[in-house]
């Protein structure tokens, strides 16, 4: 049974705590939407959940290699075609997903170099990658940026299907997605302003 838990989680950006005291407990089929103003720490929290940086305090419990992270950047190589881009990530993650292009309405663009995609099409390609990772927990950073209304609807449908199959999603979004989801307002967890900590990398080098 997939479960994502975080206890008394604090995350830091550039050595400064931005959020503290976050408690998460998501089970299969549940989604969580992160809200908060710019700079509230949504991206930092998602990167910490994805395992790209260690938490400043607290713990995150999730099965190993279970989280797929989709950042602001789409990780799309402009000189590769749409199909080549996707095939690469499918091979790296060892996932299945021959219908991923069709589900994001990209099938007719499969042979086009990614350099000639529009911003919205590129984003859809970045989201199609989630389907080929085959991972149950999705950490999504503003997934709907530059998508048109039809694409947002299509993506919401994909999210529902993912949750229906026992997946979990943590989404940072300003847009109201039509999803049954809990909402976490990060404003309430803003870290108390304290003395500036030394950047952790320096501590690592000298302590």
């Amino acid at each position: 049974m997939i479960r994502l838990r975080a206890r008394d989680l604090a995350v830091a950006r550039g050595g400064l705590r931005v959020i503290e005291g976050v408690e998460l407990d998501l089970r299969a089929g549940q989604a969580l939407i992160l809200q908060g103003p710019n700079g509230a720490g949504k991206t930092t929290l998602l990167r910490t959940i994805a395992g790209l940086q260690p938490p400043a305090a607290g713990t995150i419990e999730a099965p190993e290699d279970s989280i797929a992270y989709a950042a602001h950047a789409d990780a799309v190589k402009p000189t590769l075609t749409v199909a080549e881009n996707l095939a690469f990530w499918a091979q790296v993650f060892g996932g299945e997903g021959s219908d991923a292009l069709a589900r994001l309405d990209l099938a007719h663009l499969a042979d086009r170099p990614a350099a000639r995609l529009s911003a919205g099409q590129r984003r859809r390609l970045g989201l199609a990658r989630l389907l080929v990772t085959g991972r149950p927990i999705w950490a999504l950073d503003e997934p709907t940026v530059s998508l048109d209304r039809g694409s947002v609807g299509r993506f919401t449908k994909i999210l529902r299907a993912h949750l229906g199959q026992g997946g979990i999603a943590v989404i940072a979004s300003h847009l109201d997605l039509d999803l049954p989801a809990q909402v976490l307002d990060l404003d309430a967890h803003r870290a108390a302003p304290g003395p500036v900590a030394r950047p952790s990398s320096f501590n690592e080098a000298f302590g």
Binding site: A50, H72, A73, T79, W89
Partner: protein, 218 residues
């Protein structure tokens, strides 16, 4: 792993990928040097091994910052770091791809460049051998420098400053093999040393570079 290697090679071959960049630089250098020093054999032949090796080293340096910087900019590196591939393996594969697109063409084309610099024919096999043994170390050590400076804008200068000292042993022994080969002197010692440097770098550097990447991704 194989998918990553194939992707990197494909990216290098496609437009703007930088394949042949090092080769062109090497060609320009070897064409210009005779103009600067004078084309006669007596002047060129003694300095040819050194110039060829310095040229190979700089040609390699030219494309180093591409190893991780592009993947970092477009977010691919974040995904590779969270993928099932070990980051150490990613580093090793990317260094290998760099060598295949930069080092290997230099090894193959080196005899032609040697001719341009009046390198004695007897030294050609030794030049090729020394480059074959030495250039992988350049790519692997370079991957370390690229990993250290991956998050920095215009980190190329800092990277050169970090990497060049690490290149010096390879340069010394590589040029020494070619020089001794030209004179017909025994070459076993520098060959053993340069092979040792390459093997040690290939075995140890991926771990150091992966650690540097992890810190830089935070």
């Amino acid at each position: 792993m194989r998918a990553l290697l194939l992707r990197d090679l494909r990216l290098a071959m496609r437009a703007g990928g930088g394949f042949g960049l090092g080769l062109c630089f090497f060609l320009i250098l070897t064409v210009l040097v005779p103009f600067g020093i004078g084309p006669d054999r007596a002047g060129l032949a003694p300095v040819a091994p050194g110039i060829l090796w310095v040229g190979a080293l700089l040609a390699c340096l030219l494309s180093l910052d591409r190893i991780f910087a592009l993947d970092h900019e477009d977010g691919s590196l974040d995904l590779l770091a969270t993928s099932p591939l070990p980051l150490e393996g990613v580093v090793a594969i990317k260094a290998l791809a760099h060598w295949l697109t930069t080092g290997l063409p230099l090894v193959i084309a080196a005899p032609v460049f040697g001719l341009l610099l009046q390198l004695p024919l007897a030294a050609m096999p030794w030049l090729v051998l020394s480059l074959l043994l030495g250039t992988p170390a350049l790519s692997v050590l370079g991957a370390f420098g690229a990993a250290l400076t991956v998050g920095l804008r215009r980190g190329g200068l800092l990277m050169s400053a970090l990497v060049l000292p690490l290149y010096i042993p390879t340069l010394i022994f590589g040029a020494e093999i070619t020089r001794r080969g030209a004179e017909g002197a025994p070459v076993a010692a520098p060959i053993a040393l340069i092979a040792g440097i390459t093997l040690a770098a290939a075995a140890l550097i991926p771990f150091a570079a992966a650690a540097a990447l992890r810190i830089n991704l935070r």
